[in-house]
């Protein structure tokens, strides 16, 4: 019985996260300045990470956690690189 509850909770969480990505992409589209858009991109990466972990749980396949590991590493490096790009060069 608890297993069905788990599957339902997983799917609901997945739907919520996909909705959240939609909202943050909309907000990213209308961001007033550059750093807002960059924060939005970082947020979308993190939500994508959460979705990957949820898929790993739904499919019960640990491979997706490796994919999430790769995405986390790249997302982190990307955020740092873009932050450095903003700090050194005034673009707006």
């Amino acid at each position: 019985m608890l297993q069905q509850v788990l599957v339902v909770v997983l799917n609901v969480a997945l739907a919520i996260h996909i909705g959240l990505i939609g909202i943050s992409v909309y907000r990213l589209w209308r961001g007033e300045n550059l750093v807002d858009r960059l924060i939005g991109a970082d947020l979308v990466t993190t939500l994508m990470l959460a979705i990957l972990v949820l898929i790993a749980l739904i499919e019960l396949n640990a491979l997706y956690i490796d994919v999430a590991l790769g995405l986390a590493a790249l997302g982190f490096v990307g955020a740092i690189a873009l932050a450095k790009y903003i700090a050194d060069e005034r673009m707006f």
Binding site: L2, Q3, V5, L6, V9, L10, V12, A13, I16, H17, L20, I23, S24, R27, N33, L34, V35, D36, L38, I39, G40, D42, L43, T46, L47, L49, A50, V53, L54, A56, L57, L60, A62, I65, D66, A68, L69, A72, A73, F76, A79, I80, A83, K84, I86, A87, R90, M91, F92
Partner: protein, 111 residues
């Protein structure tokens, strides 16, 4: 024993999704860049880490990888947020609704 693990995993997923929801709502509602950074920092650290705890509970096979990813997120998340905040400040964004800027007084921005 299995039921306890599943129940804990369900709880972790719900709380993690709650944190993600709060983080995104904060990202939309909050007035300026710095408060928004504060909100998105929560999503990456608490939201995903709790989901990974649930993953480690349900699939003990992937527990080692989940632990590595939790470690990476706990170290990487706040670091990235800090870098973004420093970049926003150096790029000249004023925090809205503040009386004075101590950082400006101690280390004035180089032009």
């Amino acid at each position: 024993m299995d039921d306890i693990r599943t129940a804990l995993a369900i709880l972790a997923i719900l709380i993690g999704t709650g944190f993600s929801l709060i983080g995104v709502i904060g990202f939309i509602r909050l007035p300026d860049v710095y408060t928004r950074l504060h909100a998105t920092g929560k999503v990456s650290v608490f939201g995903v880490v709790l989901l990974l705890v649930a993953a480690a509970l349900i699939t003990p096979v992937g527990a080692g990888r989940a632990a590595v990813l939790i470690l990476l997120l706990i170290i990487g998340g706040p670091t990235a947020s800090h870098a973004l905040t420093a970049a926003a400040w150096r790029a000249g964004i004023k925090p809205r609704g503040t009386i004075r800027d101590d950082l400006e007084r101690d280390h004035p921005r180089e032009p």
